[in-house]
Every structure is written in structure tokens, then in C-alpha cells.
Symmetry: C2
DNA sequence: AATCTATTCAATAATTATATTGAATAGATT
DNA sequence: AATCTATTCAATATAATTATTGAATAGATT
């Protein structure tokens, strides 16, 4: 025991100790992300701050369980909190968290056959679901060739949205449908590639005779790529 | 049980099932990375293929244990194998693996105080260790203002190295030192920010009166950034 | 065909992660 | 000051991860 303190205080760190420490700390960060529910929470928080209650309800977790997962994320510095009245708002600790999540997501989509297969199967359940990626869409937006719908809750739209997009929360789309012109293709986007709001929107639009597509990615991906954002 | 099969085969996947599956698969990928030894292995394999034996010896693991970790990485499609005589060579499954590792590394370095602190403390043990990052270095290389030393094993240099760099494996540096001019600053680089070859090189060079720095990142980071590469 | 050897497997014990439950807490609101 | 409530904590049982050991295997080499 004394010897340990001696090493720590008086000897310089040796190479193996250094590597064990560094890779060990990074593994802790990775471990904090290595849970389905926590990944879903990170993906949600990419939209902005949410309360524990909202997070629990969106992810289908009990409040206590959501809270515990949030504690795990917080102690790894992946999320931060701010209080608002009785509520505590959780949000991502910074841009690097979303970057790491995106890198993991792409890794899964490219090398893990299950992920791609699951997404395709799910989309197939909606009939022929046309997707357009952010890069292609950015050109169409520039040329004003599409109507863009942000089908996330209005609060998220207000925090920032794709240039020229209209706020059309999915639960209002049915009622407001008649105001939409059929002259242009409609592109809906939402929180991310695993968010189903845009799928629901496209299905509804197609049912009413519109030409509709969804953006493959979500708003945070669009913003990260540096494409024009309003608000 | 029968009901389960019914759901799987005849009903389309519901939203919760879809999300559970997607985030679950991605969490598996993340879990495969969430171990200190496996992160070190990924970091090593970013240089190219290595045998189980070499990986075990470099990381200080038993062969059986290294093999098990490699199986974990392989079954998550993070690494692939190719046979060479009696040996099996492991290498990264593709560029996205390195991207994800880099994103995690940056995440740790920025938000986890322990990681940065450990690196700084370790470097401090070498005296005043000057670091230069790839972006700054790229300009100096372009203007031919530095002597660049690749202090990794020669085999790795041969697979690809920074434009204009000289191969100078760390264990040969002492003997070949006298051939190096003192007219320019010497910059050493190695496998990555947690590799100590470049630190050893800089320490040795400074001891002999050279002006020396290490590149903060490693060769794979240089290449990923699109800076000039030879071979 | 027999041998050799790098790698993998299987079994084990010890450690760590997880969801659930119900109680505790902190800090607004009244 | 008392009450209220969103959030956290603590305890628990179950499940998953890990390093070690020694045996098994696959596929080169002889």
C-alpha cells in the first residue's frame, strides 16, 4: 500500500500505467454510451434539452430508470443539466457528443448488416418510402424546388430548423394538409434517421396524393454538415 | 411463444420494436469498443494488420485473452482477418472504425478531465515536451521547414507515411542520430496521441542538443485529414 | 500422413451492469 | 413554514462481462 503511494507521488508514470489509464478512461466514456436506452436518450437530446419525465415517456422507460441512465451519462460528462422551475433539463454536454454518436451510427449502418436491414424492413412497412439524403436535398432547397416540412414538435423547430422549412408537427399534419400545394415535391424531416415522425408524415402525404420524400438524416445532421439553418 | 412468431412474421414491426432493435444493435457495436484493451487494439490496428501474438505482446495481454478480445471485435464486424502462413492477421474492418475511435478519443480528450490530465502528466515526465498538431505541421512540411521522422517500426512506415518523412524506428534512433542535421527543427511522429515512441524520440533528440517536437496525433490521423502521404 | 504451432475454445470464479421497487430528497410553490 | 412534486437514491435479484487456465483445433510445414 505504501509502495503504491510512493509510485504515484514520486515516480513518473510508466508507459503501461499511462496507457492503461488513458484507454481505461476512454473505455468508461464508451461504456456510458453502450446501452440501447442511453443511445436513444443521446439521440433525443441532440434536439435540445428535455426533462426526465419527457425523456422517460419518449423512450418508454420508467422515470426512475431513465433517471439512473441519465446519472450514468452525467457522470461520464456526456450530458449536462440546468434547472427550470421544478424541472431539470438534460442536454448534451457539447458538439463532440453528437459527433461520437454520429460516428457510431455510421459505423453500425455500414458494417453491421442488422442495423441496415432493420431500417429497410421498417421503412418497407410504409410502402415505397423515398429517402433523400442531406447532400442532395441541400441542392433542391437552394433551388427552391421542394416544400420542406419540419415535423418535429414546434418547440424543437423554434430552437432551429432547416432554412425555409415550415413547422408542421406530425399530429397537426392531418388537419393542415389541405393548405399544402401539390405543385412541388414535399420533403419531411425530423429528429434523425431512426425517428419515425417523417415516415408517418410521408405515408400520410402519399395517401392524399402528394409526391413526398423523407430526409434520411435529421435536423442535427443537417446543421452539423453546415447547411443553412434558420432561427 | 406462438404469438411471438405471429408478430414477427405477419405483423409489421412496430415503432418501439424498431427502435429497440436499432439502438440495441448499435449498443452492441459500442459495447464491443467499450473495453480498455479492445480500444488499445483498435488504436494499434489503425496502423495496419498485426498477428494475435504481436497484438498480445504490444498490449501486454496473454495470447488467449488477446484472442478472446479479438473474437469480440470480429463478431461485431469491427475487425477482419486474413491468413498468412501459420499466422492470422487482424486489421480494422474499414475507415469508419477509425472514425468512430477518433470521435471517441476527441470526446474523451475534451470532456473527460482525467484523459487530458493523464496525457499532460505523462508528457511532463519527459521534461518540456513540445507538441505540434497536424494542421500546423502540414504548413511546415509544405515549406520544407522541418525534418520529419517516422519513429514507428519500418514495416508500418513502408505501408504509408507522411510525405517527405524519414523512417527512423525508435530503437535505431540512438545509433543513427549523428547523421541528422541540426539546421532544422526535427518533428517525430508515431502511431497516435497515446503512442510513446515519439515522446521517447523527442527526449533523446533534445538530450543531444536538437530542437525537437512531436506531432500530437499519429500517422492515421494525418492521412484521414487528407494531408500528403507517400507510398 | 505425421508433426508442429498459432490461434481458438470451454469452463470457471470474480466482477460489473441492469430493471424494478419503494422510499428519500431538494427545491419550487402555496 | 408547510406542502407538493420532479427527480434521485438504495436495495435487490438477475444477467452479462472479464481474465485465467489448460485443452482443442485448424491448417501449414515437414
Amino acid at each position: 500500500m505504501l509502495w503504491l503511494y510512493f509510485r504515484i507521488f514520486f515516480l513518473r508514470m510508466n508507459k503501461r500505467e499511462f496507457k492503461d489509464k488513458v484507454y481505461g478512461e476512454l473505455a468508461k466514456v464508451s461504456k456510458a454510451m453502450s446501452n440501447p436506452h442511453r443511445l436513444e436518450i443521446i439521440d433525443l437530446l441532440a434536439q435540445g434539452p428535455f426533462t426526465v419525465e419527457d425523456i422517460a415517456s419518449y423512450t418508454g422507460l420508467s422515470v426512475a430508470n431513465a433517471s439512473q441512465h441519465l446519472q450514468t451519462l452525467k457522470s461520464s460528462k456526456l450530458v449536462k443539466i440546468s434547472r427550470n422551475g421544478n424541472y431539470i433539463n438534460y442536454s448534451l454536454a457539447g458538439e463532440n457528443v453528437f459527433n461520437a454518436w454520429t460516428a457510431l451510427r455510421e459505423l453500425g449502418l455500414v458494417y453491421n448488416a442488422e442495423v441496415g436491414k432493420t431500417v429497410n424492413e421498417f421503412r418497407a412497412g410504409f410502402g415505397d418510402m423515398d429517402c433523400i439524403d442531406a447532400d442532395q436535398l441541400s441542392k433542391l432547397v437552394e433551388e427552391d424546388k421542394v416544400i420542406l416540412l419540419d415535423v418535429r414538435p414546434e418547440e424543437e423547430y423554434n430552437r432551429g430548423h432547416v432554412h425555409r422549412a415550415i413547422s408542421m408537427p406530425i399530429e397537426q399534419l392531418g388537419a393542415k394538409l389541405k393548405n399544402l400545394s401539390k405543385s412541388k415535391t414535399i420533403v419531411a424531416y425530423c429528429r434523425g434517421p431512426f425517428c419515425v415522425y417523417a415516415d408517418d408524415a410521408v405515408a400520410l402525404l402519399k395517401k392524399h396524393g402528394y409526391k413526398a420524400q423523407r430526409m434520411k438524416e435529421g435536423f442535427p445532421d443537417w446543421a452539423l454538415k453546415g447547411y443553412p439553418v434558420d432561427q
